[in-house]
Symmetry: C2
């Protein structure tokens, strides 16, 4: 087990390195922190920390930098979550309050998060499957062509075209619309498949095909992965990655463009609270030199989606975690109000 002081040394190394972006040596450490011991002692501690794999040397005669394992220990044991200041909190609320619709909420959230953390922000739209149905609308575009619009309690709107196997009258349409809504409105999306299962049977034979097609389209919109959407922002902050950034930035940008990768990234987080993935803990290779801080958010007690930031492993973890948590809370509030 590492002694109290060695942990203190690790904390000091992480803090200094995050601040300066440069390997930190024993002398500089004793000067900037009141460790109460000499550089020589710190050197011994550093050697021990290096043996354990918490820090590393870029090259022989340089200072130490934390490894992923070192950051992990720092996040788990040595640092808390830094709460935002009151003015910051007020700014968040003011900024989010002006949103007019869901796209606007998500867009503002992304910008806010990117600005607060000075990193790349990722915000997932509220999941359909974890939301409840507010309304299902059916419109006739042509005799055998319908438009299906689904609206959730979180303000999300999805629409699909439906090509009917046979012409579908206005009365049948009104009928289907009414019955559909009476069954699913207010219910959770995940329950919809069962709730509508036997619906076609109660229609005229002529209309059964169309009803079945409509329902099939409805269920299609709920398929996991294809129903997920997200928005990213603050990519300009990638330029703050460090000196070696030309090599690092490309795979990160590529990863950020693949929705699938990002969804996995956010989805991986099984913990209902905040999740921090550091460097190689990220499965995706392109993100091996980044850390991801993510958390669920929701209008009620339950999370309907996730949001987070992607930054260099050398990031201000307490501050970032504080900002992510605070933003998630306010977004949840906004959604609940709408």
């Amino acid at each position: 087990m590492l002694s109290e002081r060695r942990l203190e040394v690790l904390r000091a190394i992480v803090q200094d390195y995050v601040g300066t972006e440069e390997p930190v040596g024993s002398k500089a450490l004793t000067e900037r922190h009141k460790l109460g011991v000499s550089p020589a002692t710190v050197r011994n501690d550093m050697a021990a920390l290096e043996d354990e794999g918490f820090i590393a040397q870029p090259h022989t005669s340089a200072g130490r930098i934390p490894t992923d394992k070192g950051y992990r220990l720092f996040v788990d044991k040595l640092a808390g979550v830094k709460p935002l200041s009151a003015p910051e909190r007020r700014a968040i609320q003011n900024f989010l309050d002006g949103a007019v619709d869901l796209d606007d909420v998500v867009g503002r959230t992304v910008r806010l998060l990117a600005q607060l953390t000075r990193q790349v922000a990722v915000v997932q739209y509220p999941s359909l499957t974890r939301s409840t149905v507010r309304h299902v609308e059916l419109l006739s575009l042509a005799p055998a062509r319908l438009m299906l619009v689904v609206i959730t309690d979180t303000g999300r709107v999805e629409q699909r075209h439906v090509d009917c196997p046979a012409p579908f009258g206005e009365t049948s349409l009104a009928d289907l619309r009414a019955r559909l809504n009476s069954r699913v409105a207010g219910r959770r999306f995940s329950d919809v498949p069962q709730l509508v299962q036997d619906l076609p049977e109660s229609f005229d034979r002529d209309d059964q095909g169309t009803v079945a097609t409509v329902l099939a389209t409805l269920l299609e919109t709920l398929v996991e992965e294809s129903e997920e959407r997200l928005m990213i922002g603050g990519t300009a902050n990638l330029t703050r990655f460090g000196h070696d950034f030309p090599l690092v930035i490309r795979p990160v940008l590529e990863a950020l463009e693949e929705q699938v990768v990002l969804l996995k990234l956010l989805g991986e987080a099984k913990d209902p609270g905040m999740t921090v993935r550091i460097g190689h803990e990220n499965v995706h290779e392109g993100l091996n030199s980044t850390s991801v801080v993510s958390v669920g958010y929701g209008s009620g007690g339950e999370a309907v989606a996730k949001l987070g930031v992607v930054g260099p492993t050398r990031m201000d973890y307490p501050g970032t975690m504080g900002a992510v948590r605070a933003v998630a809370r306010y977004v949840g509030q906004i959604l609940a109000e709408s």
Copy 2:
């Protein structure tokens, strides 16, 4: 006026520089192109081209690179638009045909354009004001709370909450919905303000306030600039900008994050055909080292929005212009079908 051969020299310089990313000298030029004259002659031509401001030297003993003015001449006089190959065209069509809704169409278009041009792609959603209304839907969320959903012929869906000054009954709601649709369905959005102007008068006094509020919200969604949306992609291609890219990439990423800047960029293009803005021709400073190729697209004869790419001034103009034009055409087709 520049002689025929000097123009030929400029064309050769542009082509070589775009290919190699390195300043091109007189000797290399005569070797790679059949100009029929010696390097010394080419040197004289180059000196003339430099006097006219079409090319420049990074430093004394280096080759020449085209200036913005040089590229401009190249685009205007020396190069055509390179049509895509048949397989490429087929690939475009196949890829776009799979889209399920407008978001999907725009998303696919962005990815396609980024992939074809290997540059950053920007696609604007069909403008509301230039589309026609397919349907307006009103839903009751609470006694004094409505949701307004607007659907366009291009498949775009916008929704807004409406807080009513007084409770609004189901029958009034159905009434308003029907009257609203009979007036505006199939009409152009830009005509909507006049078409609904006198609508409140025909309602009971109790409901007039609510009707007015609904109409105000409807008109709000049509306000220019706030109604515009767009999607970008292919930012990973920014890493192909060149050696000096760390300095260049940041302002570009920042510009790309500001919708306003991008909308201006696309909107600036007054020409109904393709527009090319080279380097400093872009008003926004961050984009001074980029070129923007943009073009309008639409379901009918008229453009409902624009799309384009942002890349280094040193880009393959004929190829890029060909790809942009082809994609715009196919997107127009897809929208017309939906």
